[in-house]
Amino acid sequence: MTFIHVALLGMLIVCALAVSLTRNLLTSLIVYMAYSLIMAVIWMFLESPDLAITEAAVGAGITSVLFFVTLKKIHAIKGDSDEQAQK
């Protein structure tokens, strides 16, 4: 249990809390991508590179892309210009 393990686990917990606590869906999705990436590094440290590759490709890549498409379809992504127009 070196320093980097502890730091990674702490970041993992912070990301997991932030995913559920953020209001903006886009923000929570990007934090979820970061969570997947940290998880991939942790798998690498736990000596299971198979899972690390799969996590990086599926968790951080394709699942997030599918979530992005879904958010776009339900018009949940709102940029700054939209918010200004609403004001």
């Binding site: 590179p49 198979d50 590759i53 599926v58 394709i62 892309v65 599918l66 498409v69 879904t70």
Partner: protein
């Protein structure tokens, strides 16, 4: 009397006689007369009485109909107010009961399981020790994980691939927008496409140029991971995900028209069907007997060579193809509702 007469006139024999006597014109006239005739009161008293009677019965009939409708309406109203409340309450109760049951069974299962990290369980010593010591000579795969998931526990992997295929089919059922019979797009599809491309740069030259260079490299890397799955970390799932990422990049850069040239519903169907059926047939005997590590007839080869490990490499290819097609079709259906 009058009834019988009108009845008689409309019978086929009478019409035939009329036609025989007067030709087609009479029948036509009769039809025109019937269409243009306004309701006129019958002249003699008997007919008038009958008409009154008919009116009375029809009124009564209408009244009963209205009463029935009122009853129905009341029932609907009941269903609309109290019934809905009762049903929603029932749903809540059922959901709570189901959740409590699930929690109970899961906790029961967890309580029956051996403790985490207990050294006395067979899963922690015998099984893993056998996998580590004999895995290489029994499966011929340098990567023990590939030997485990595609030889000892091949049934699990078949289940996972089938789950992916079922998920793709479910998404296809839910999100697909059909075209017209002559192949022209439906209004809904056009709306979905315009909504999809609303904020997106179309035909970006820079993206297309970089995709032209990057897509083959990504495909090559995914194929390398799949083919090298029994030698180094990787395998069907990760390689398939990487190939599907390349497909998604191509789709984003060049649009649905160009991607539809090589990937259609037919491609998805046949690739998934052949991969899954190949997997099932190749391992069917082991599944049926319940025994693992039966001799497959293919020589295991020298460990470390690319053509080694018996059935592991073909099974990796099958799993990878299923995963790549599934992920790509997820993306295409999520975006546009079609390929």
């Amino acid at each position: 009397m009058s009834k019988r007469r009108s009845d008689w006139e409309s019978r086929p024999q009478a019409r035939f006689r009329k036609w025989y006597k007067e030709g087609f014109l009479a029948l036509d006239n009769e039809i025109i007369d019937h269409l243009t005739r306004t309701t006129e009161l019958p002249e003699n008293i008997e007919d008038r009485l009958i008409a009154q009677q008919e009116e009375m019965t029809s009124r009564q009939h209408e009244r009963t109909l209205a009463l029935e409708r009122l009853d129905q309406y009341n029932m609907l109203a009941w269903a609309r107010t109290r019934g809905r409340k009762a049903i929603s309450r029932l749903y809540v109760i059922l959901a709570l009961a189901l959740g409590a049951m699930m929690i109970f069974f899961l906790l029961e299962t967890v309580a029956l399981m051996p403790r985490f990290g207990d050294p006395a369980t067979p899963g922690a010593n015998i099984v893993s020790e056998r996998y580590i010591t004999k895995g290489l000579e029994e499966t011929g795969a340098t990567n023990i994980v590939a030997g485990m998931i595609l030889d000892y526990r091949a049934f699990d992997t078949l289940g996972e691939s089938t789950v992916l295929f079922i998920a793709a089919s479910a998404v296809l059922i839910l999100l697909r927008i059909d075209r017209n019979k002559d192949g022209s797009p439906v209004q809904e599809l056009i709306a979905a496409e315009s909504d999809d491309r609303h904020y997106e740069p179309r035909n970006d030259r820079i993206l297309q140029g970089s995709a032209m260079i990057l897509t083959p490299i990504i495909f090559l890397y995914g194929i390398y991971i799949i083919l090298n799955g029994h030698l180094s970390p990787g395998g069907g799932f990760s390689g398939g995900a990487i190939i599907s990422a390349g497909l998604i990049l191509y789709l984003d850069a060049f649009g649905f028209d160009k991607a539809g040239r090589f990937f259609t519903y037919k491609t998805f169907t046949w690739v998934s069907f052949f991969s899954l059926s190949f997997y099932a047939l190749a391992k069917a005997y082991s599944f049926y007997c319940g025994a693992n590590n039966l001799p497959s007839g293919i020589p295991l080869g020298t460990p470390g060579a690319i053509l080694s490990g018996g059935l592991i490499m073909p099974l990796n290819i099958a799993v990878g193809m299923v995963v790549a097609c599934t992920m790509y079709i997820f993306y295409a259906l999520f975006r546009k509702g079609g390929l």
